[in-house]
Amino acid sequence: MVITIATSASQGKLQCYLINNDSYSKLLVLKDDDLKKISLVKGVSYRFEWHVVGSQDAQYKIIVKVDPPHAGFADFTWEKDYQGSHQDVGGFNFIL
C-alpha cells in the first residue's frame, strides 16, 4: 500500500511528518509545497503529524491518500485559513 501526501502553504510555513511509531523513525518529512509517497506495511502503527506557523494571514492544505483504498485510512483533506499570527499542530495515529 502506498500513501501519498501533498501539501501546500501560502504565506506561511508548513511541516509534515510521517513517523513509524514502532521504530520511531521518520519516514517522510514534507515542507511547504511538497508531494511525497511511500509504501507502508500492514500491522505497523504510524503517526501523521503536521505543524504550521505564520505571522500573518495564511492558507494551508494537506491531502493524504492510501492506494489501494484501505478501511484503516479514509482519504484525508485538511484545509485551513488563518487570520493573523498563528502556530498550530495537528496529527493522528493509524494502522493499516
Binding site: D33, K36, S55, W78, F92
Partner: protein, 373 residues
C-alpha cells in the same frame, strides 16, 4: 587571491547543497503541485524579515530585499552599497558590494578588471531558518488524548481534523495543552567579507620615497537570531553575534620641510611614516529589534570588542513602509543611526564618542523572479 577564492567556494558549496536539498521527492509531480501555489507563495518568515529589515543591513538579521543605498556619516565619507539577495523558504543568500565615495566622485566602482578597488567591500551572506517542530511521543499521545475529549464534547465527525488551535478555544481543555511545548523557528546568519584599502607610506627617513601598498581585510561573522513571541504573535527579534574583524591602520603622518635646491625656500611635504599595522578584533554583539505600527523600527544593539577593549551602543531608527500585503518594502527606505563608542577603561566624552549616520535606500528585486525548482 586566497581571500577571493574562499567566498566563491562557500557560494558554490552552498548553492550545491541547496539544489541537492530541493531535489528530493518526485520532481515532475512536485513541479505540478508547486506551480499553482508558487506564484502566491510568500512565507510568514518573509513578512517577519520585511518587517524587521533595515536599509543599513548592518544588523545581524539579513535583509531579504536587494537594494541600492547611500549612507553618510558625519565627518566621514559617504558609502554606496549594492545588495543582491535571493530568497527561498528557508534560505536567504546573496552578495553585496560597497564603495567609499569621495566628495568629488560621481560614481562608485567597487570592482575593476584588476579586482577590488580601493575602499571597496565585497560580502557573501547566508541566512538559514531552523525549525524542527515535531512533538515527542509523550507529547503527541497527550495531544491525542486531549483531542479525543474535544471531539466527544463537540461531536466532531472526523477527529483527525481537530488541531491545537481548535482546542485552545475550549476553555475547559485549553489548560491541558500547557504540558505540550511548541517549538519556534530561529535563524543562523553567516557572512564573510573582504575590504580593500590602499596606503602610501615611507619607511626610509632619508629619502622619504613613498611606497604604494594594498591590503585585503577579511571579516567573518556568525549570528543567531531568535524571533520573540508574545502568545501567537512575533513581537520582535533578539540576536547574538560574533565577528572576527581585521583592519589596517596607517602609521603616523609627519610633515617634513626640505630645502628647495640652493634657494632660500623650503618644500613642505606630509607623508605617512611606517607600514600600516594590522589590527584584529573579536567582537560580540547583542541586538534587539522591534517594529512599531507599520512605519518605524528600532534596533538597539551593544557591541563589545575584546582585543580593542572598546564598547559601542547604537540605536538605529528605520522609517520603513511596506506594501499592503507586507511582502515588499515600498518606496525609498530611510533611517538614522545614533551611536556612542568608547574605550572600556576610560569613557569617551559625548563629543568624541557620539556619531550619527543617515541612509537612503532604494529596494529593487533583481533576483526575485528566479526559481530553483
Amino acid at each position: 587571491m586566497k581571500f577571493f577564492l574562499l567566498p566563491c567556494l562557500i557560494f558554490v558549496v552552498a548553492t550545491g547543497a541547496l539544489l541537492a536539498q530541493q531535489a528530493t521527492g518526485s520532481p515532475n509531480e512536485k513541479r505540478t503541485v508547486n506551480s499553482s501555489v508558487y506564484q502566491e507563495k510568500k512565507d510568514e518568515v518573509t513578512k517577519a524579515k520585511v518587517q524587521y529589515a533595515s536599509p543599513f543591513d548592518r544588523s545581524n538579521f539579513s535583509t531579504i530585499v536587494s537594494n541600492v543605498s547611500l549612507s553618510s556619516t558625519i565627518n566621514e565619507k559617504t558609502t554606496g552599497k549594492v545588495d543582491l539577495k535571493y530568497n527561498t523558504p528557508n534560505l536567504t543568500y546573496g552578495f553585496s558590494a560597497s564603495q567609499l565615495i569621495g566628495e568629488a566622485s560621481k560614481e562608485a566602482v567597487p570592482v575593476e578588471l584588476e579586482g577590488l578597488t580601493d575602499g571597496a567591500t565585497f560580502e557573501f551572506n547566508l541566512q538559514k531558518m531552523w525549525w524542527k517542530p515535531e512533538l515527542t511521543s509523550q507529547e503527541f499521545e497527550l495531544f491525542q488524548a486531549i483531542k479525543k475529549k474535544y471531539a466527544v464534547l463537540h461531536d466532531v465527525d472526523d477527529p483527525r481534523l481537530v488541531t491545537w488551535m481548535d482546542i485552545k478555544k475550549d476553555s475547559t481543555l485549553c489548560g491541558q495543552l500547557e504540558a505540550i511545548r511548541l517549538r519556534r523557528p530561529w535563524f543562523v546568519n553567516v557572512s564573510y567579507s573582504l575590504t580593500k584599502s590602499s596606503y602610501t607610506y615611507a619607511v626610509d627617513s632619508v629619502d622619504l620615497t613613498g611606497i604604494d601598498q594594498s591590503y585585503l581585510s577579511p571579516r567573518f561573522k556568525l549570528a543567531f537570531i531568535f524571533p520573540l513571541w508574545k502568545e501567537d504573535k512575533i513581537n520582535g527579534l533578539f540576536s547574538l553575534s560574533y565577528t572576527y574583524f581585521t583592519s589596517y591602520s596607517p602609521g603616523d603622518e609627519i610633515t617634513v620641510l626640505s630645502p628647495l635646491g640652493t634657494t632660500p625656500n623650503y618644500l613642505s611635504q606630509t607623508i605617512t611614516f611606517g607600514e600600516p599595522t594590522k589590527e584584529t578584533d573579536n567582537r560580540f554583539n547583542i541586538e534587539w529589534r522591534k517594529r512599531y505600527r507599520d512605519a518605524i523600527g528600532i534596533a538597539p544593539s551593544l557591541t563589545c570588542g575584546i582585543n580593542s577593549k572598546k564598547i559601542a551602543f547604537s540605536l538605529p531608527v528605520y522609517f520603513i513602509k511596506t506594501e499592503e500585503n507586507e511582502q515588499k518594502l515600498r518606496g525609498l527606505q530611510g533611517g538614522i543611526r545614533l551611536s556612542y563608542e568608547t574605550d572600556m577603561e576610560e569613557l569617551a566624552s559625548w563629543q568624541d564618542g557620539f556619531n550619527v549616520q543617515l541612509v537612503i535606500a532604494l529596494p529593487f528585486d533583481v533576483l526575485g523572479d528566479f526559481r530553483i525548482d
